[in-house]
Amino acid sequence: MWDFKVFIVAPIFGGDVNLSLDKTAPVGSLSQAFWGVIRREMALYDQHRGDWAMPFLFFIMVVALFSLTLGAGADWLAKVAPTVIWIAVVLALILSLETIFRADFQTGVLDQLGISPYPLSVLMLGKSVAHWIMIGVPLLLLAPLLGGLFLLSQSELWVLFLTLFFGIPTLSLIGALGAALTIGLPQGGVLLAILVLPWMIPVLLFGASALVAVTEGRSFNSELLLLTAIFIATLVIAPMGISAAVRISLES
């Protein structure tokens, strides 16, 4: 009587949506679909290079404005650097995530993905991976460069890189979940920021406190391990949440 799949899983993730499709049809393996989504996303980023570059310009400008307006002494600047860079990363990511589903929703691609025989969560993970490759990695490489503006030492730049390495994919997965909830809404951008910023606070705190720890000469292991733990948990849970949210948004 208590069938987990019928009672819990199907109502949430819409298991009955696919029932009309012949799942045995030779449509290619799941990994092919996964890589297909990634390739398609990368091709789209390649087509819209102007849009692709915006988050980085924004990121550089925010960081530059901070270092410009804070001015003052060098040691003091290094103290606020981790906070400024982390917040700039968060803002740039939110800016880039605002449009992650928009075109797909308007052109109906999202509906196609929804009725495909593959689990939507895996396809959404593919979308996130593509976003990480195209936006996350360049941000990851830019951040230590801009850390130079704040006269960070080499070890601090290294810690910044390490924490961002786990922090950026976590943040972009969390942000994608928020973006999936606000698909097709007017004023989606501001709403998205209000929804996802509270979720990002732990990552932000651990990332910044790892840098504070290293400037004070303490070990930053615990912060880094916690960031990794949050990353792994998000990596497992967020794709399911994103696919559930996309299905909810597609219903209307």
């Binding site: 606000t182 809404l185 929804l195 979720w199 606070i201 732990p202 916690l226 949210a245 948004s249 219903e251």
Partner: protein, 250 residues
């Protein structure tokens, strides 16, 4: 498969039940709060350290307690709505949000007023204060998402996902902030077996918590009826009920 109590949760039944509950909840609120206010502000002795300033506890603790409890209720309703699609759960969640946000705001303001004489500062970025502030933001995000989506069904489901993620978020935020040294005093009621508070102070506090809870219940019943009418205005039972009402008016 249907939820076992789906019959009880039908809009018509819940509309009538909420109507019956309003006066009882209202009376209980009045009784508990009158005892709590008089007992807390006059009968209870002053604190040996904090003097009369400790009396802020009778507003602060119930509000903080309910701000979290109401979020938990919203979380449970969201789970029920997502899994079993019971409309009542969605309306309860929707109508609880504003009350919960208000209690959170009261808890923050009363905490700041209490903190000024005790700690010498209105605000400190300690774990509990920060979690409470984040909770307020979560409430705002929840209400914002709901008002941004116009179809009630999609709004309910999206808000439910939001509430569930937020519930996961609160403890993580709490522990992430706890890294910094904390100024907040230890929990007063966590160790109910041997409370760290005198009995004359404790009973009014419990009464106030009960009073705040039933006040929430009263408000919820009133708002629930409004919400049911808003959602169900096209259905037969609303029309019948409306005809009855208009007849009795004539």
């Amino acid at each position: 498969m249907k939820f076992p109590f789906a019959q009880l949760a039908s809009p018509k039944n819940s509309y009538q039940m909420a109507g019956h509950l309003i006066p009882w909840f209202g009376l209980l609120t009045l009784a508990l709060m009158s005892y709590g206010v008089v007992g807390g502000l006059w009968w209870a002795p002053s604190d040996y350290q904090q003097g009369d300033a400790f009396r802020m506890i009778y507003i602060h603790v119930p509000a903080a307690f309910l701000s979290l409890s109401i979020y938990t209720i919203i979380f449970c309703c969201s789970v029920i709505y997502l899994i079993w699609q019971i409309k009542l759960a969605d309306i309860v969640a929707e109508m609880s949000a504003a009350v919960g946000a208000t209690y959170t705001f009261i808890a923050l303001v009363s905490g700041a007023l209490w903190g000024k004489p005790m700690w010498g500062t209105w605000w400190i970025w300690d774990a509990r204060l920060t979690s409470e502030l984040i909770l307020l933001f979560l409430y705002f995000g929840y209400m914002g998402l709901r008002s941004a989506i116009h179809e009630p069904k999609r709004a309910g489901k999206a808000a439910a996902v939001l509430a569930i993620v937020g519930m996961v978020d609160i403890p993580i935020v709490h522990f992430s902030v706890e890294w910094w040294a904390t100024l907040h005093q230890g929990a007063t009621l966590a160790k109910l077996a041997k409370p760290s508070i005198a009995v004359e102070m404790l009973y009014p506090l419990l009464a106030m918590i009960g009073g705040f809870t039933f006040f929430y219940g009263t408000l919820l019943c009133i708002r629930l009826r409004t919400g049911l009418l808003q959602r169900e205005w096209q259905s037969l039972w609303v029309r019948e009920w409306f005809n009855q009402q208009s007849k009795s008016c004539l």
